[in-house]
Structure formats: C-alpha cells, structure tokens
C-alpha cells in the first residue's frame, strides 16, 4: 500500500517538478525577499493644482510700508499668473507681519492651508537705497527654504519684486524663473486695411510699456538676443524686406548684411554672435548665417525648395527649420554646419515657425491643419507631439527663458466689413493649462520673450 503511491507517481514528471522547483523557487524567494524588509507603496497618481502660498505684505516703516505692500503684490501677481501658485487672501492671515519676523507660527499657517509662506521687509539705507529682504518658509515641514536681501534704488522696486518672485519660483519648482523679463511685440492699431505696426516693449507682466518705433515703416517678427538687450526683426528698406538689428538701450537700428534679395525670418544664435535667417532671390529660399562681428556670411542649405524659419538649439549644435522639400511644409533638423538633414514632423497639414525650447527638451511650432491653426510642442526627434491650443488663427510661439511657458498671438476672425480681427497676446503653460491673455494697450502680435535681464 505504501509502495503504490510511489509507483503511481511517474518519475518523469516528478523530476520535471523538481527542476521546476529548483528554478522557480529561488526566483520566488528572491522576489519575495526584499519585500520582507518593508512595506512599499507606489503612488502613481496625484493632482496638479496651484500651490497655496501666503504672501504677507512686506513690512516697512513710514514710506517704506508703501513699497512693501507694492512689492508683495507684484510678487503675488507674478506667482499667480504662472498658474503654479495660489496666493491666499491676506485677510485670512492669522499671524501678523511683526510676529512673523520673530518666528512664523506654522500651525497658524497650516490652519489656512498655506503650504508656503513669504514675508519680508523694506528699509531705506543711509545712502538712500532700498534694502528689500524676504524669507520663504515651507509651512508643512516648518523649515526656511530660502532667504535673500537685495539693495536697489527706489525706482527699481518693481524689478526687485520680479527677482524675488523668480527666487521663490526657482526654489519651489527647481526651475529658473521668468518674471524678471521683458517682451517685445508688434503693436497694431488702425483699420485692418491700413494697419500701423510698431515695435513695442514691456515687462513680462505688461508694465512699463513703451513703443520703440514710430510706425512709419512696417516691422515684423522681432526676436530677442539671448545675451544682450538687442532685437533682430524684419522691416522694409526700399520696399524690400530686410533683417534689422535694434539696440534697446541706444535705440540704434541697422540693416544686417547686404544681400541682393530679401532676407527674413531672422533669429539669434544662442551665443548672440550670429544671426540665422532666410535669403530669397530666385523664388526659393535658403538658410544663411551671418557673423555679427566679422559680417561673414555662410550658406547652410542648398536644395531646390523653400527652406525657412531657422532656429538654433540652445547648445548651438543643431538647427531646426521648415521646408517643403517633401511636398508639404514640414519641420526638419540639421547640424550647425548644414549636414545631417532629418525630417521630424509627419503629421497632417503644414508645420511652421519652429522654436527650440531654451531648456532643449522640446520644439514649439505652429501647425495649420484643416483650416485651423494650432500651437504645439514635440521633442527634437519628432516624438511626443502635443497640441496646446487651437483657434481660427494662433501663431508665433516664443518661449519664456526657462522653457516652461509659451507666448503667442491669437487673431479673431473678421467679417467682410473688416470688423473683428482683433489680435491679442496670450501665454500658456507647457502642460497646456493656464492660458492667459497678456493685456496690451493696443492689439499685439508676434511676441518675443527676452532672456532673464542680467
């Protein structure tokens, strides 16, 4: 009886079992082993919502109190506009500014759901300059995240506010800020058939607006130099479109290069020493670079097709552009010497105005498909295309210097009487959320974002 079970069990399978056991058991064991040590929970979901931040009006004695509240309101507005922060209503604050200076009572701030706390002070120095100091606290961890002090002339208080907002943004998100920047754009006014287009500049938040040109000549596609307060743009010289340089500080303008045909679609190289642009004299256009110091010109494309809208990668080693060499208008990349041309966009419709993100990970572009325009991003190899915004007419994306936010313009359709057709500037977060209109005194198009002001 006792033997039977043994015999009934064929040895072949048992050996296989043994083998199986031998191979599988260690696997199971090793898989189970690390888990014995500790429970491990994967959090793969979360949410995206603005971080609640308490910005206490900066304290100051007498006249400085005004500066204090002005600065903190600019900081607050900057952070709010980024879409990543939700400044809390100062009325809800429990602890007073004076008390915080001694020691923030984090329980009070947790109570109103603040996750970060900013407070600071403004003092006038003996030499008349302002000393603006602030601290950023992590309310939940109960730790100071950063604390900085700045000295500046009183007229400069707005810039200090932007710099403080940048410091807070950088400390919390890990990315550089973009608040201490300016935007040039084409200010448009007048009826649709006789538009006056002037070059204008303003702070990123719309403040300090001024016109740079008087509108007698048409100006188009301004682009900021990544290194200096200089703009390159397209204007008309003897009825020929030509690329110009404009020095913001001096107001000086000059034509770039002396070419037989028309030049357009200019952009600076990342080091600011060259301008890359299109030159057209025979019907199709080719891409050229011009060294601003030596004025030497170099041709990069040589193809019987239209090649235009060139842009540099932030490291200067690659160039993106669009071309119709494959039939439709698509995006291409090539190395800085013009070799290794590679098509990267393959979607329906036409792609135009590629711009490389300053952080290098994405290209923004305009796409025209089925009668409507959209602004999207894709990786430099063409993968991961995403459409961020879509409309009757959206065009001309430009990156904030941290590569996180895009600005562009949107035009409303106009009827046959020429009504409508307003053009406005908008900004949008890279994630496709937080689309905001940039308020300008007149209509605006073709924005170009400056680098952080040095």
């Amino acid at each position: 009886m006792s033997v039977l079970p043994d015999r009934s069990r064929p040895w072949m399978p048992t050996r296989r079992d043994a083998l199986l056991g031998l191979t599988v058991a260690p696997l199971l064991w090793s898989a189970a082993r690390p888990a014995w040590g500790e429970l491990r929970i994967d959090i793969t979901r979360g949410k995206v919502e603005p971080m609640p931040i308490a910005i206490v009006p900066f304290s100051g004695a007498g006249e400085q109190a005004k500066f204090g509240s002005d600065i903190s309101s600019v900081v607050s507005a900057d952070l709010e506009r980024s879409g990543l922060f939700r400044p809390l209503d100062p009325k809800s604050f429990i602890q007073s500014a004076e008390q915080i200076r001694l020691q923030p009572r984090f329980e009070d701030w947790k109570m109103i759901n603040a996750q970060a706390l900013v407070h600071g002070s403004v003092e006038t120095q003996a030499d008349g300059r302002l000393k603006v100091e602030f601290r950023l606290w992590d309310v939940i961890a109960g730790q100071q995240m950063t604390g900085l002090a700045y000295f500046t002339i009183p007229n400069n208080w707005r810039r200090v506010a932007h710099i403080i907002a940048d410091a807070i943004y950088k400390r919390i998100t890990g990315e550089d800020g973009y608040f201490d920047t300016r935007v040039v754009y084409i200010a448009e006014s007048g009826p649709q058939n006789r538009r006056v287009k002037r070059l204008a500049i303003m702070d990123q938040d719309g403040a300090n607006h001024r016109f740079l040109t008087d509108g007698r000549v048409l100006v188009l596609t301004p682009r900021f130099s990544p290194t200096a307060q200089e703009i390159t743009y397209l204007s008309y010289f003897r009825d020929q479109p030509r690329v110009y340089l404009f020095n913001i500080d001096t107001g000086q303008q000059e034509v770039v290069g002396d070419f037989p045909g028309m030049t357009f679609a200019p952009r600076f190289s990342p080091d600011g020493k060259r301008v890359i642009m299109s030159l057209s004299d025979t019907g199709n256009s080719q891409i050229y670079t011009l060294d601003l110091r030596t004025r030497s010109v170099k041709r990069l494309t040589n193809h019987a097709s239209i090649n235009t809208s060139p842009c540099y990668s932030p490291d200067g080693n690659a160039i993106c552009f669009n071309s119709d060499r494959s039939g439709g208008q698509q995006l291409y990349t090539m190395d800085a010497e013009g070799g290794g041309v590679k098509r990267i966009s393959f979607g329906q419709g036409r792609y135009a105005t590629p711009v490389w993100s300053p952080r290098g990970d994405l290209l923004a572009f305009t796409r025209l498909n089925a009668g409507s325009f959209s602004i999207g991003v894709m990786r430099p190899d063409g993968s991961g295309e995403r459409i961020l915004t879509e409309s009757f007419l959206v065009e001309g994306p430009t990156w904030a210097p941290n590569g996180r936010v895009l600005m562009y313009f949107r035009q409303q359709p106009s009827d046959d009487q020429g009504r409508g057709g307003q053009v406005k500037l908008f900004s949008i977060d890279l994630t496709g959320f937080n689309e905001r209109e940039i308020i300008t005194p007149v209509d605006g198009s073709d924005p170009a974002w400056s680098p952080l002001i040095p």
Binding site: L28, A32, G46, K47, Q103, E107, G142, Q144
Partner: protein, 343 residues
C-alpha cells in the same frame, strides 16, 4: 519454439522485475527534494490568493461571499476593485473620531532660537543667503515631547478638506452611496496632466474617460504580486497584511495631497522614495527622502522630493486611513512617488 517462449518469458520477467524494483529506486532519490519546493510554493500562493477575500468579506452587498472560495478570489480584484474600497473608506472614518491624539505630527512650538537670524549684513550688493539652521532640526526632534498643543492641531485635520473640497469631495463622502462613480470622476481629474488637444478632440472623450479607470486597475494588479509578499511571512498571519483595498485607500488618500511636478524637465524621471515612520494613530512620525545625496545636488529632484514630502506631511493626509490593528505592518514603510504613468 519453447525456447523462444522461454526467452520471451524470461525477458519479460526481467523487464517487469526491473520496472518493479528499479523504477522506484530511481524515483526515490529525488523525492525528498520534490516536496519541499512544491509545498512551500503552494503555501505562499495560498496566502497570495487569500489576500483579496478579506475585502469582499467586509463588503455587505455582494452575493453571500461564502467562506474561502477560490473562484471569487481572483475575480473581485479585477472588475470589482472599486467596491472593496468603499468599505475601507467607511472603515477609515471611525479611526479619526476615536482620537487617540498622543503626539501630533510635528508641533514646532519650541524656539530654542528664533531663526530670525541676525539681519543680513549690508555688505554685499548681491543676494545673501540667510539660513537659520536651528529651525529644521528642532522640527525633527520635537515630535517626541508631545505638547499641550495637540487639540489645536486635531481640529484642522477634519476640517481643512472642506475648503479644498472642490477636487476632493467625491472621495470621502460619496463612497458610501455609490462607490464606482466617484472613482471615475477622480480618475478624470488625474487623467492627463499634460494636455493634448489633438488627442482629445477626435476621440469621443466620454468613453475614453470612462474607460480610464481600467488602466489603473492593471496597474494595481501589477502592484499585487509584490503586496502579498510584502506582508512578511515571518509575521503572524495574513491578517497582518494590508489588503488591496486598504492599499488603494492609502494611495487614493495620498494622491489627493500630492501636487505632481507636471511640467518639470524630465518629470518622468523624478521618482522619489520617501521612508515613512508612523505613529500608532496613523499620523506620520517621521518622513525622509531616501536619496539625500541627489536632494543636495539636483534642484529638480529636490523640488520633486519636497512636493512628495509635502504630500506625506500634509495635514489633510494625517492620519492616514490605515487599519489600526495592523500597525505592525505599516509602522514603517516606503512611499514611492512615481509620476511616470501620468505624463
């Protein structure tokens, strides 16, 4: 003829004898080895399959979940996961009321030194770093001496959720009446952190969204294998393990507190592990990012790590909805914040 028959007979006899004595002998040696691995495996598998049942059991609605039936086990986890959850949630509320409020997470009352450091010297025209060292340290050490403060801390916990209710309400409240729906809604908001108008339009959004709940499931299942193992065999018995629905409840709760760094550069690679030590009342006693070195050097990682820490320490997520009787299992664990699937 007879010789042939004899031969045949002898040969057959030999074969039979060989078979009778030889085979068992050959078979025997491996035998002792066989049973060990196989039996061990079966045992663990049993515990694995045991995992889900606790959930159905708790559940009032489903068909009379008879004792330990293998078939129901595999099924509930897949399609019915949401259901197991509600009971969990229902179960969770009770814990908070019985407030055994010993030490609140961290009461940073003491002030050995107001970090209000000496005002910055007006020497440099550039920014000056001011760092009050004491504060942080104090914060960490303090938890032990429970202060009279606790009462103050407690109230906010239940309340705060309301103000922020916009996103949340579905979570805590609805589960009781109709669990599945809140689930779907929640998924909607979490769905896509990066907007792509192109994909949204063509696809009929509703069904697509409705289906979203599916993906999470596989994901949970993927997480399944490890979980059973996680409840350490050395520990008493299956009771010590967290059930899938309990794990889901915690995941859901922390997800409500975690603000994902969605647009950051290489956000996909910003996976943060946080080592969490718990108090018996399911509040966090101590939490620390595992990769401290990277925290020092990589500002993006630091930002992501801090967002994870804020989720862990968020008053809204304290106490965590953990079954108190399984304290041994969760008194210390690792939270792995991984935004990959959302981006």
């Amino acid at each position: 003829m007879t010789r042939g028959a004899t031969f045949s007979f002898l040969f057959h006899a030999l074969v039979v004898l060989l078979a009778f004595f030889g085979l068992p002998l050959m078979a025997k040696p491996p035998e002792p080895m066989l049973e060990k691995p196989i039996l061990v495996d079966i045992v663990t598998i049993a515990t694995v399959t045991n995992l889900p049942p606790p959930a159905p059991k708790v559940e009032p609605k489903p068909e009379p979940p008879k004792v330990v039936e293998p078939p129901p086990k595999p099924e509930p986890p897949k399609p019915e996961l949401p259901k197991p959850e509600p009971p969990k949630v229902v179960e969770a509320p009770p814990p908070p009321p019985p407030p055994p409020p010993p030490p609140p997470p961290k009461v940073v009352e003491p002030k050995p030194e107001p970090p209000k450091p000496e005002p910055i010297k007006p020497e440099p025209p550039k920014p000056v770093e001011v760092k009050p060292e004491p504060a942080p340290k104090v914060a960490e050490l303090k938890p032990e001496p429970p202060k009279p403060e606790p009462p103050k801390v407690e109230p906010p916990k239940p309340e705060p959720p309301k103000p922020v209710a916009k996103v949340e309400p579905p979570k805590p409240a609805p589960p009781k009446p109709e669990p599945p729906k809140p689930q779907v809604k929640k998924d909607d908001t979490f769905d896509r952190l990066l907007k792509d108008l192109a994909t949204k339009k063509p696809a009929t959004p509703e069904p697509a969204e409705a289906k979203k709940p599916e993906p999470p499931k596989p994901q949970q299942q993927a997480a399944l294998p490890p979980t059973p193992n996680q409840s350490p065999p050395p520990r008493p018995m299956t009771e010590g393990q967290l059930t899938l629905s309990e794990l889901d409840a915690i995941r859901g709760q922390i997800a409500q507190c975690w603000n994902v760094p969605a647009g950051a550069r290489d956000a996909r690679n910003l996976v943060v592990e946080v080592q969490v030590d718990m108090n018996q009342d399911a509040t966090v006693r101590h939490a620390q990012v595992v990769d401290q070195a990277r925290m020092m050097t990589d500002p993006f990682f630091r930002a992501a790590a801090e967002s994870a820490m804020r989720a862990v320490l968020n008053p809204r997520c304290n106490p965590l909805r953990l079954p108190r009787e399984k304290f041994d299992t969760w008194k210390s664990f690792i939270l792995n914040f991984n935004p990959k699937e959302m981006l």
